[in-house]
């Protein structure tokens, strides 16, 4: 897993260098610290990163990736899942820049996302007051889950190279019926797998790999 992220980060750095042309105004890497805080005491783990590039005056092209895990451990069920995901999309700024260095934006955006999910064997127990309990095992399984997201939020510069911002996301899974039996308790990048739709938010802290004046 570590190798996977080192490779992705190198790819992002390489891409940012390759894109350092006149058309590219800014490249930024971000990490979602909200998920790290919210899930500190939870069985759900969710690590999310984003790389975005401002190619035009008001459009950010975005690549997001991450991984996570979850587990269910109660008196009736015991199993765990892990997944990694990627998302591509763009954000469209709704604000006109005040000056050539103004990159604070309120935006709406779209993401296309996909995740590879692995579920361990599931150990279950059924309890009947008269007949007693029955224990059993459900085989492990792998899933491929695509979804799309509609989102909105803000991104602002808090220091010359440091940015912060949040997003609200409405997520719609395309083949949720595959989770009719023993779904993941949580899908990193998506949220709860109980429903085909999910509502989520992120709070990002970002670092600008490079930034140019909007007018150049």
């Amino acid at each position: 897993m570590l190798n996977y992220f080192i490779r992705v980060l190198f790819l992002a750095l390489f891409a940012s260098t390759a894109l350092a042309q006149d058309s590219v105004k800014q490249v930024r890497v971000s990490a979602d610290i909200a998920k790290l805080i919210v899930n500190t005491s939870s069985a759900n783990k969710d690590v999310q990163f984003a790389v975005d590039a401002l190619l035009k005056k008001d459009t950010y092209y975005t690549f997001e990736f991450g991984y996570g895990s979850s587990s269910v451990d109660n008196s009736l069920l015991n199993y765990s899942t892990s997944n990694s995901f990627i998302k591509i999309g763009l954000d469209k700024s709704l604000l006109l820049p005040i000056n050539n260095k103004d990159l604070d934006i309120a935006f709406v955006g779209l993401r296309l996302a996909a995740s590879s999910i692995n579920r361990s064997e599931g150990y279950y127990k059924t309890i009947n007051s008269f007949w007693g309990s029955i224990n059993g095992v459900v085989p492990s399984a792998s899933f491929f889950a695509p979804w799309f997201e509609l989102l909105g939020g803000i991104k602002v510069d808090v220091l010359p190279t440091i940015t912060a911002g949040w997003t609200l996301r409405w997520k719609f899974m395309l083949n949720h019926t595959q989770f009719s039996e023993l779904p993941p308790a949580y899908i990193a990048g998506f949220g709860s797998a109980n429903s085909a739709t999910a509502f989520d938010f992120n709070f990002y802290i970002g670092y600008k790999l490079f930034c140019k004046s909007l007018r150049k």
Partner: protein, 161 residues
């Protein structure tokens, strides 16, 4: 005017408050046992109508015998449990607990494991294949619906007295 970082911080706290109100998915709040539902009837010309049993007693026979229905005077609807560890379950029926006469009914079925939810886990559904009975007080038995699920509105078997 607040600096951008302060604004973001307050927005973040607000969102965190909403997020913390999300539903607890680890608590099972629904009945999950699939019960076999019976109704007692008597023939009336070309149709049939509910037949209230005066003082019914129903016992389920497993490794032990347990009285399942008792002191439900003038009842015609009953919910029984099926053994998820076997393909048949046997019951003893008395239409009046003060009388000696009893009937034995055996329900034959196939079982299927059904996932309910992460909080509630699994339960068993049943498909009734056959019902066999004695006929001391009981006239006949008919299967009204073969599929026994958690749906509590369906009557599966009709008992005719």
């Amino acid at each position: 005017m607040l600096p951008p970082l302060t604004k973001c911080f307050f927005y973040f706290l607000l969102l965190l408050t909403f997020y913390s109100c999300s539903q607890d998915t680890n608590t099972c709040l629904q009945p999950i046992d699939a019960s076999l539902r019976l109704g007692s009837y008597k023939y009336a010309d070309t149709s049939h109508k509910d037949s209230l049993l005066p003082n019914p007693m129903i016992k389920v026979i497993g490794d032990s015998i347990k009285t399942w229905v008792q002191n439900q005077k003038n009842s015609s609807k009953f919910a029984l449990t099926l053994n998820p560890k076997a393909d048949s379950t046997k019951y003893m029926f008395q239409i009046d607990a003060s009388k000696v006469s009893t009937d034995t009914i055996v329900f034959y079925y196939s079982r299927s494991l059904h996932f309910v939810s992460v909080a509630c886990g699994y339960t068993y559904y049943f498909t009734i294949n056959k019902v066999a009975s004695t006929h001391h007080d009981l006239d006949s038995v008919s299967i009204n619906n073969f599929n026994v699920t958690e749906n509590a509105t369906i009557e599966h078997v009709k008992l005719f007295y």
